[in-house]
């Protein structure tokens, strides 16, 4: 099966005033589909930058990034947004739900972006809320939900459109260990059910224990840079 993510000689340099800081240095990486993959490394190692490139919200300074068969360097900003809307789901450390929308509306939001008809949208949203155990909280706003419930809404929102890849940046960092464990179990279950590729950036050893593939990054370089070697 061809990789769902392929990075070739990717470099990313940030300019801080006159100083150039290399966040990624010559990354070559392939991630197989339908896997639970982890990007691990110390703070500042470059894992979030790598996740941003895979998520098509950032572009490399050098090298190529191919996601779901699409070279992202060739796409315009609008085309990238369209690509993200259809193919990539995000789960953020701080949940990042839209505060003025209810749980139902937050989950429904990605379906509006892909122009799904209302009836299908409603069915999928309700099914997704049911899948994450929040059917009863559908009308509640994020500030009326607990941290764990918010992250469940975020997971439902990331998965509702059936994306090829779900990217999660430290999804358990703001949760207590029991809730974090429950969230990991939930993600593992829905990943298995939906055959979606999950890619995490994490420090959480409990989360790492569920990994199908671990990619270790240090100082902007992969520890074992051989494509697919970490599988």
């Amino acid at each position: 099966m061809p990789p769902v993510v392929r990075l070739t000689h990717v470099e990313k340099t940030y300019k801080a005033e006159a100083i150039e800081v290399a966040a990624l240095r010559g990354i070559d990486l392939e991630i197989s589909p339908n896997r639970f993959s982890m990007l691990i490394g110390a703070s500042g190692s470059g894992k979030t930058t790598l996740l941003n490139l895979i998520g098509c919200i950032d572009t490399p300074t050098r090298g190529t990034v191919e996601v779901a068969g699409q070279q992202i360097g060739t796409l315009s900003d609008d085309a990238l947004a369209e690509f993200r809307a259809r193919n990539i789901g995000f789960i953020f450390q701080n949940f990042s739900l839209v505060p003025v929308l209810s749980a139902y509306e937050n989950v429904e939001y990605p379906l509006l972006l892909v122009g799904m008809p209302a009836a299908e949208r409603r069915d999928r949203t309700l099914a997704m809320l049911e899948a994450v155990g929040l059917a009863k909280q559908a009308k509640q706003r994020p500030n009326e939900l607990s941290g764990g419930q918010r992250q469940r809404v975020a997971i439902a929102r990331a998965l509702v459109k059936g994306p090829q890849i779900v990217l999660a940046d430290e999804p358990t960092a703001n949760l207590d260990s029991a809730t974090g464990a429950a969230i990991i179990d939930l993600m593992r279950r829905v990943q298995a059910e939906s055959n979606t590729t999950f890619i995490f950036a994490t420090h959480d050893p409990h989360l790492m224990s569920h990994a199908d593939q671990i990619v270790t990054i240090r100082d902007g370089m992969l520890i074992d840079p051989t494509p697919g070697a970490a599988a």
Binding site: N52, I57, A81, F90, S96, V98, V100, L113
Partner: protein, 466 residues
């Protein structure tokens, strides 16, 4: 679009206090524009009503009279005016448009009071009218202003030598006591001084031509009016002064004489053919003016008459000046209010963008395009503007209703008597729509800058924002 509006509306509610303050600025702007605009509308309408009541919508003159006739009105008399008045009245097109069509005679001369040992004279500006037509013209109130003057019993068609004068002229001609007017006495050293040979000549002429002066009819004082006839000969008539009214403008007040048309014609034309200087048309509706004017031009062409038509705004330059002044003030107020709204909305939307930077990053990551972000914040600006403008409109209508039913009155410039103060808002949908649209448009423009800034944010930077 519904999601954008839903999110916009909820974000407005989320920042209630900030939205309220910004909406209040918009509401205050709309209220100010509507109340002043409503007052200006009332002024325009009242002024038009007064002008049309006094001078009609259109006046027919002999060509050249309007520009040159003031120096020698008698030379610009309209020949055969009676048949022309009838032709206008019976015209198929004009007839249904017309409320009143009436001839008038303007004249200049010298008025003198030599009764009871008085020795006072003054140049005058006279107008000869048909009293009943004048009374009908004063009933015209197309715009329901309530500015109707009841028929004046002092000046009617029955009394062929009775007339009215300006209060200033009455004072100068020493008519205050006989007319029981409350006006101050002239300084004694001036009062004792006679105008000399001129007054003596007028008195002599009046005695010779009018069969003696100083006789009082009905207990009312008489004055002598001297003018040159169309042929250039001096002529004098007696006018019984039935009353004196303030004219609002001092120059007019000190010179004004209103008399029956026949008396004016007798003074100006003597035994020669009687003519008039103007034929006044008062229409039922002001909007018919262009059509009536066009038809009059056609009629004159058919009759081979060398006549011109002037409308009330040309005859009363004051009308145009007042309109211009109020329009300029309205524009100025609109600009000030627009600036206030602009800064208030820019400030609010900039704060909204700053506070929601992380949220912008999240929804951009989810696939919302730059345009979607831009529309989101424009919609919020527009919504704040629309809610504020609507609230301001309701408030302005309430305040206007309060003023209109409050029994307030004022004396407009050029008027002699107080009139009810009104503010036309609820019955001016055009004004409401204009003020509302302007300030909502300003709100949208004000939101553009922060909205563009939000749309240009890098997704990564926005997500990193705390």
């Amino acid at each position: 679009m519904s999601t954008i509006l839903k999110v916009a509306f909820r974000n407005i509610l989320r920042n209630r206090r900030r939205s309220f303050m910004t909406g209040s600025a918009v509401a205050a702007g709309v209220t100010a524009m509507l109340l002043f605009g409503g007052f200006a509308n009332y002024i325009f309408t009242s002024l038009e009503t007064r002008s049309v009541q006094q001078t009609g919508h259109l006046t027919v003159f002999r060509s050249g009279y309007f520009l040159f006739g003031a120096g020698n009105a008698a030379a610009y008399g309209i020949d055969g005016y009676r048949s022309l008045v009838e032709a206008i009245r019976l015209d198929r097109e004009l007839g249904p448009m017309i409320n009143v069509v009436t001839p008038t005679q303007s004249l200049l001369g010298i008025a003198g009071n030599f009764a009871d040992g008085n020795d006072a004279s003054k140049t005058f500006l006279g107008i000869g009218v048909i009293a009943s037509d004048r009374d009908r013209m004063r009933q015209w109130d197309e715009f329901k202003t309530g500015l109707i003057t009841p028929p004046d019993p002092r000046f009617s068609d029955k009394e062929e030598s009775h007339g009215l004068v300006g209060l200033g002229l009455a004072r100068i001609l020493l008519l205050c006591r006989p007319l029981a007017l409350n006006c101050p006495a002239p300084p004694e050293q001036v009062a004792r001084k006679s105008a000399g040979p001129v007054n003596a000549d007028i008195a002599d002429l009046a005695g010779r031509e009018a069969g003696g002066v100083a006789a009082k009819a009905d207990g009312l004082p008489q004055i002598d009016l001297l003018a040159a006839t169309a042929g250039g000969a001096p002529n004098v008539v007696n006018l019984t002064v039935a009353g004196a009214d303030p004219q609002g403008v001092k120059e007019l007040d000190d010179n004004y004489v209103e008399m029956p048309l026949g008396l004016a014609q007798q003074l100006v034309y003597g035994r020669a053919e009687h003519k008039v200087t103007g034929i006044v048309l008062q229409l039922n509706r002001s909007e018919d003016m262009p059509a009536a004017r066009a038809r009059l031009a056609q009629l004159f062409k058919e009759r081979g008459a060398d006549l011109e038509v002037r409308d009330f705004s040309e005859l009363n330059p004051f009308y145009g000046q007042v309109r211009g002044m109020f329009s300029a003030i309205f524009l100025f107020i609109s600009l000030v209010m627009g600036m206030i709204v602009l800064f208030a909305v820019v400030n609010t939307m900039t704060m909204n963008v700053m506070e929601r930077t992380s949220e912008i990053g999240t929804i951009r990551a989810m696939g919302v395009k730059r345009g979607g972000i831009r529309w989101q914040f424009i919609a919020e600006g527009a919504l704040i503007g629309a809610i504020g403008a609507s609230a301001g409109t309701v408030f302005a209508i309430l305040v206007a209703a309060l003023v209109n039913h409050g029994g307030l009155s004022w004396v407009p410039p050029g008027n002699a008597n107080p009139v009810p103060l009104s503010v036309y808002v609820a019955n001016r949908p055009g004004l409401i729509l204009r003020a509302w649209t302007i300030l909502v448009a300003v709100s949208v423009v004000a939101a553009l800058l922060p909205a563009n800034r939000a749309a240009r944010l890098s997704v990564v930077d926005a997500l990193r924002h705390v």
